[in-house]
Subunit: 217 residues, 2 copies
């Protein structure tokens, strides 16, 4: 029953190509933003920031950063979420995550022990030898959140399009992300797809189970 | 209703720290593997392969590649899925994905037009300037699938643990991935967590909505 429901979501979702311009309910957008906030990340690093373009003006403002074929997927979407990562996880961020965990009672009963966040610092350090490596690792974590949002949107009957086709440096400029210690890495359109969306009727195509799955002996 | 259901899944899931050794139903595992296969990836590149360790022998075989603190999360899980990416998306792979799309009827009515996969080749090319870049991009796509599997598992009432704490080169050796043109990047344990799992009762901690979300004006 439950496995069928979760599988049906994966079977029915598809990448929307053409939006109607209709808005999705604000409570649905809020739920997706909350799901993003709750997404898991390695050592609870939460290396992300989510920028939401909901107004026509906001979507028009970011649209020029997207590839030609993606522009209408920004302007005619209900909302576009820009996923950004921090340009390195600095001491301020690591301290803040730890303080929040203490405040939330993650360490109730043991909060007086030293180095409660030693594990996080160790793992973040493993991926911080270069800024490029740090950003790649943070981006991986952010793609977990992206997967959560895409899956949840499908489960809520909301159409979505993952947008990698963009000039993210231009998007960073538009949003002033450099000054904020952030870097955009991907975006997600949410909205209502046209009933005759070219991709809605096409069969999903994936490699066969034999080609992508192996059992370890 | 639907948004509440999808949000509840995100609220209730947590990273399991201690497993019981109990098996999850095979139909649940099969559903998760099918959800992985159906996961979206940029330009439908499907740059992945999923290796499943279900038997005690298989989990014992891969366990030495994992960090000490993760070993029991392999040996006492019901199943461990190892996520691998291709060491570059070669001509054979690109042709096969395109052939499968043709066979599945993605281009019904226009299959005689040339260069139907030009877009995919262009985008794969953009991320193939170095093998390191290609693997980073493929890994991002694979983390979407990871997000799908984690979300779906939670929705099905199955406990899971994302395992980045491993020696993936050692895991590649154990599974002979180098010869297969593959590279392991992350793993996911699935199973039943102990009722007194130390992380089950702890409150989830995340930065505040104000800290991770901004509205674009």
């Amino acid at each position: 029953m439950k496995e069928q429901c979760m599988l049906d979501i994966a079977k029915s979702r598809f990448t929307t190509k053409h939006y109607t311009g209709e808005k999705i309910p604000r409570e649905d957008l809020d739920a997706i933003l909350e799901i993003l906030r709750l997404s898991p990340s390695s050592v609870n690093s939460q290396p992300w920031h989510f920028f939401v373009a909901s107004s026509d003006a906001a979507r028009a403002k970011i649209a020029p950063a997207f590839a030609d074929f993606n522009q209408a997927r920004v302007t005619l979407a209900s909302d576009v979420i820009v996923f950004a990562v921090k340009t390195g996880l600095d001491e301020t961020h690591l301290r803040r995550v730890h303080e929040k965990e203490l405040a939330d009672g993650r360490f109730a009963g043991i909060e007086n022990q030293p180095n409660l966040d030693a594990g996080r610092r160790h793992f973040v350090g493993l991926h911080s030898d270069t800024l490029e490596h740090a950003i790649a690792w943070e981006t991986q974590q952010t793609y977990i959140a992206l997967g959560f949002a895409m899956y949840a949107a499908a489960g809520m009957g909301i159409h979505s399009t993952c947008l990698e086709g963009a000039d993210f440096e231009k998007l960073d400029e538009i949003l002033g992300l450099h000054e904020k210690g952030l870097k955009s890495v991907v975006a997600l359109s949410l909205g209502r797809g046209k009933p005759d969306d070219s991709n809605a009727a096409r069969p999903k195509s994936r490699l066969t189970p034999e080609e992508v799955t192996s059992v370890i002996d």
